[in-house]
Amino acid sequence: MITRFLVLLAIAATASAQQPSGEYASTERGPRFLLATTRETVTLDVSRTPALRRRVSIDATRQPLKDVLDQIARQADLSLSFSPDVVNLETVVTLEAKNLTVAAALTEVLMDLHVDVVLSPGGQLSIVRQPPPPVVGTVSGRVTDAVTGQPIGGAQISVAGLTLTVTASDAGLYTIAGVPSGSHRLTARRLGYAAQSRNVTVGDGATATLDFALAPVPTALSEVVTTATGPQRRRELGNVIERIQVDSLVVDAPITRLTDILSARVAGVQIAQNTGFSGESPRVLIRGISSMTLSREPLLYIDGVRVDNSTGAIFHPTFGFLSYGHAPGRFNDINPDDIESIDIVKGPSAATLYGTDAANGVILVTTKRGRSGAPKWTMYTEAGVLSPAVGFPDNYYSWGRNTTTGATQRCLLLQAAANTCRIDSLTTFSPLHDDETTIFGRGLRSQLGAQVSGGVERFQYFVSAEGERERSYLEMPAAEVERVSTERGGATIPDEQLHPNAASKLRFQGNVNRSFANGDVALSSSFVKSYTRIPRGNEFAAASLGSGYRDAFDGWDATTGRPGETFALLSAEHATHYTNSVKITWRPITWLSTRGTVGFDYSGMLYDGLQRRGEGGGATRSTGRRLSMRSESSVATVDVGASASVGLSSAISSRTSIGAQYNRLLESITAANATGLPPGSETVTGAATVVASEFTNESVVAGAYTEQTFGLKDRVFVTGAVRADGGSTFGRNFNTAVYPKASLSWVISDERFQSRLPWISSLRFRTAFGAAGVQPRSIDALARVTPITSFADGTLTNGAVRTAIGNPDLKPERTREWEAGLDVELFGKRVRLEATHYDKLSTDALVNRPLPSSVGILNRLENLGSVSNRGWEGLLNAVIFESPLLSWDMTLNGSVNRNRLKSINADAIFVTSPAGAFRVGYPIFSRWDPPIRSFADANGNGIIERNEVVVGDTAEFIGESTPPKQLTVATGLSFFRDQVRISSQFDYRGGFVGMDFTELNRCNSRGTCRGVNDPSAPLLEQARAVVANGTVRNWSGYMVDATFVRWREFAIAYRAPTAIARRLRTNSFSLTLSGRNLRLWSDYTSPDPEINDSAGALAAEGLGGNPTAPQTRYWILRAAFGF
């Protein structure tokens, strides 16, 4: 019902606005009603003109026009003058009507006579001849990038003084019909480019050609951005949309994947790096965490098609082949070199029209397009070395003797304090720090790619192909290779065990544009074949839990095993991923633009886990394990819409949009998990036991929207919109989710009073309000019984148990957001400042309400809570110094977010980990435990004992797990007209507390940390170990400030001048040396504050740092050639 209402509303709005108020109205058959003033003649509002609303009743059948006009004037008591020079008064007309208004009567009898009715200030009505129809022509042309020559789709071209505006096709082509003959000034605008104005003379009935070559510049108000409703000028939007121009970035920075582009470049956008494994898929977090149970990933669209970018969805729960923190995902499949730009829609205030699922923001990726002309080739290649960005701590072992027997034994501090043993000496060792035992080697990276683009005026193409290989820094040490080989009878050890972490990708992208008179068709197709091999991760646990001296296991933990054992457990992912889309844009008339996109995104993954018989295992060798898991994920997208842009008057413009979207996600997993493999076998066939499982998840969101924008004098823009969604995951008692939106944009710098401050180039205030949602899984609303394989009566048989009681009232989480901000450009755009305040509130937050144990079912998903994220974002971009020989620019972007659990509307008591607790009034997933109040070595034995530590009685808030503060400083020096550019980026994240599980386990599971071994260890280290192992477990001592500053990027780029490039027989040549993750400053006690051991598990956000691969340091040399 609501959908129907919205469509009616949208159509009605469009229909009412379809008549442009141009200077001429030659298409109208009836007379215009005009008011003659001393300066000009203006259109009358008939409904508000009493003289024209008077009523008459006429009964005239085939009478002369003059007679009928006289009757009308007489009955209405009006003075109506007309002349036979203007109109043939003998024309025979028929009018039989009662109680008709004067205006209607005159319209009827003067139909098709090409006259107007003019009302004088004195109340006299006159019939005058209409001016002759204007002589018009057409302007057409092409909009391209002045630097690259690439077409600029979506650019808006407007004619000064007229309300004629069109949007260029994806091929950059535009046509404006109905332009009055004469000279005109046209302006082309596009986000990321400087607006350009050019003059053109239009002849009678002729077509003039006018091309634009826009120069790229930082975002400015005059440019155009792509929104859910199509291209729109940025000045019209009340919300901030950030754009990253990727073209130049891949030259000037160490970019190896999509998340490298997003990392620290947009305020409020955080990349959670998870681990340093090659092939990892980090997560993206925009403006804080809103959900306690659902994904917080933003939506990803590539060329208008929604792409499944979920992470961790493919985790297999029973096999455990995946590493700590390893989250497989498809987010980084796209080739950064194929990307033209990325638009980031941050929150619901901007993402409303993307509807359910868009509450976490939307990332819109646009790939490169072809350009007309001869084929232009670009080839690039890069090579790099990889190493761990940080090290690991040493393990400790305290040697001692039993005080009773005198026997040698390990003597921990508390045992010494209890006088059961006496410490003789202390050793420290880490197998990661010894050249003979370490698994930290030197990784390698290589990449080779080629792109070609070209075409003719109405047909362009862009094709690219790239191959990429990366082998991480993990490698089996030489001594271990020898040992394992000997153990296996001299067999050669497979490379996947020698180098257990590697990733490779083969990517193709093909884009084609075909333009027609009033539209164009764009085809996009990408194909990625990837292979990722990641070890299970226990090698880092084995390193951190080792003995503390070089024992028979080379200092590795004996239970877990040496690299020869841990690397024998392989986990690989083979993925095939393609995304195809067809986008049709059709402009049937100048003021109406329609579009439709149909696309399909498909990912097919094969998870390949293998531990051969006799390889790996602890004290006894494994009998072999095998996981063969096939997973498919597909997303179908249909997106249709229309926008009508008209001028309602010389001061007021209108833009009306309607649209509908449909997204269907289908995931399916089939897995076979085998143990006990036959000798030499690498498949499940013949295994002693095989367990099979299957999983399917399908969800659909279908919605429609309408949006209306009014502009006042091109300075003030007011927008209202609403979207309604139906979803497959909603409970049966909930049907439609409705999301409203409103925004205001005021370009203050265009006001007259602003001209007194000439140093302000532009100034805009904007504010927006909007809502969006996130939906639960498809099965969450349903009561269900889960089938299992049972062993009963001595045989394997079908079994089933009830696992959920369902929730018929389940609905999507709903997030509403208000934001307001200022955009300022100073000193001729040399300084640009953006500041935004946002206030986001998620209601109906989905929470797994814990049921009492006695019910026998763990949870019930309910819409119980509300979560608030409130904060500031800022961007400062300045060209500090600029000259032909040297320029210096600097960019600061930062954000502060305040996350709070506002309420849980239930009396439920939540059982959450101290490392990620929910407490009303505090950040979600925050750290809670009774704090260590004080400690002192009261008995003077140099050892902190349990009774010497005072711990709080109740759990207290210790900190939040996600960084609330972020600041990035990027700076660059350009020499010799940008031929050489040196750039660097520093990334700060602060205000959060890490959960140092690595140290916790070292101290309390294996006793390998300093705090339980070394009598000279700081008392705090001793105290936290003591309370963590006390009568009541307490982790507070390992909840450590994880604030850090990371030297994230450094690059030196050289762009050869044309002369040198020619000498190399190329058109262009660039060479870049860049580094990533170069230095870390942090007081965090675990190796890397950026690793997260539970990246794939939604409900364990920020749980902590179990030992896993630290971030990778890259040094990359890249060369690019243009032909």
């Binding site: 659909v700 079994g799 049921l851 008591i909």
Partner: protein
């Protein structure tokens, strides 16, 4: 003009109709993984629910991911097993509110699954009735375990027509009496199966023993043959024996020896009833891990109900009622014990002599129980009974004194419910945490 309006109206109506109709069907999806409860309203469904309930019960008994289940959990709290995790609070008797470390959740899941399967079987597969009897018996055992190992005041909730119905708190006595009631049902339905009948008889007697109703115990188990065994069922692929996994694979569980001063010498006694084998260094990298080799396979059954237990219960009753009958053979308490030592294991164990004093006789009896019933989930209940029924002090029977790595044993003697039980409005904490 009119034409245009008509066209607009038609367009609006058409698009609205299409969208409205489409939205109602476009969002329909398949959920093949989801089986609605109604699908099981048939004979095949009932049998499937029965098998699922048995699986859940088995998992609650010995699941490596749930603190080793009932057997391992109670063994840790007592002197049977020790953990190679320093943080295992149950092993250190340091259970506090908020940290349960007992698979009460798994037991509740099993109990609810059994409660759902019983009416389905009654309705659709009433014969052979011993199937229902088995479900009643297992249900009774879940209630028995709550009473035997946990604090007093455990509620038993249900799901009725898809809605949770929260149970009231039950005292230890009420829980055991409820178990007896369900064992009685099992006995009624078990007429066509001696195996299930004996399982119910022994279980009922065990509940009576916990209640101290010694005079009622003997009659119930007299007919149970000594060779009778009812075990959990495990396969290599599903329902693996969690004790095997914990001892052999992860080496997080080890047979204890003289644990905490009072513990029995399960390892060094070299008693064939508790065969052990060194597995190497345990998970903590320090402690030697010894496995109970009767569970040396993922498929090893756990004989948690047996004729041995029936005889031991008879011996205990005899000792209480007729301690003077200390003949080394015959039907007196010592005669029964020696009968077992002579016939229930090969080669036979040497017969016992009467130690003479009441206290030492009790010690002897409970030691025999500990070794015969090792690793079957009885020892924790026995320690509690030593306190409540034989007047022993807690610190004379439970592990006490220094633990490992400078830590000390705590004072816990029972497990407490998982914190999530606080979401039951009828639950206000344990009524009694004493033995």
């Amino acid at each position: 003009m009119t034409e245009i309006r008509i066209t607009r109206c038609f367009l609006v109506i058409a698009i609205s109709t299409i969208l409205t109709a489409a939205c109602s069907t476009l969002t329909d999806v398949d959920a093949p993984d989801v089986l609605q409860p109604e699908r099981f309203d048939n004979p095949a469904g009932a049998l499937t629910l029965r098998a699922g309930a048995i699986t859940r019960f088995t998992e609650a008994m010995a699941n490596p991911t749930l603190e080793y289940g009932q057997v391992g959990g109670s063994g840790l709290m007592s002197d049977e097993f020790t953990s190679t995790f320093l943080n295992r609070l149950s092993d250190r008797r340091s259970i506090t509110t908020g940290v349960s470390e007992y698979p009460d959740q798994a037991l509740h899941i099993a109990r609810v699954a059994l409660r759902a399967a019983i009416p389905a079987m009654q309705k659709y597969v009433p014969t052979p009735s011993s199937r229902m009897a088995e479900l009643f018996g297992l249900l009774a055992f879940t209630e028995l375990f709550f009473g035997e190992n946990m604090c007093s005041g455990i509620p038993l909730s249900d799901i009725i027509e898809g809605t949770p119905v929260y149970g009231e708190q039950l005292t230890k006595t009420q829980l055991l009496e409820r178990a007896i009631g369900d064992f009685d049902s099992a006995i009624v339905y078990a007429a066509d199966s001696a195996r299930i009948l004996n399982m119910a008889r022994v279980g009922r007697a065990r509940a009576l023993l916990n209640l101290g109703r010694f005079s009622d115990v003997t009659a119930g188990v007299a007919a149970v043959p000594t060779s009778f065994v009812y075990s959990t069922q495990h396969s290599a692929s599903v329902q693996q024996n969690g004790l095997f996994v914990a001892q052999y694979s992860s080496r997080t569980l080890s047979v204890a020896n003289n644990e905490g001063v009072n513990g029995l010498n399960f390892r060094t006694a070299n008693d064939p009833r508790v065969p052990t084998q060194l597995q190497g260094i345990g998970n903590d990298g320090v402690t030697q891990a010894f496995a109970f080799t009767r569970y040396n396979s993922a498929t090893s059954p756990i004989p948690f109900v047996s004729g041995l237990e029936a005889r031991l219960m008879q011996a205990e009753v005899e000792l209480r009622l007729n301690p003077a009958n200390n003949q080394t053979t015959g039907t007196g308490w010592l005669g029964i014990l020696n009968m077992l030592r002579g016939t229930a294991i090969t080669p036979a164990l040497a017969p016992l002599e009467d130690p003479g004093t009441p206290e030492s006789r009790v010690n002897l009896l409970f030691r025999e129980r500990a070794f015969w019933l090792f690793g079957t989930g009885h020892r924790h209940g026995d320690l509690r009974r030593l306190v409540t029924q034989y007047g022993r002090g807690v610190e004379t029977v439970f592990p006490t004194g220094p633990y490992r790595a400078g830590l000390f044993y705590g004072t816990s003697v029972v497990f407490v419910p998982n914190d999530r039980e606080q979401n039951n409005p009828n639950f206000n904490g344990c009524l009694d945490v004493n033995p």
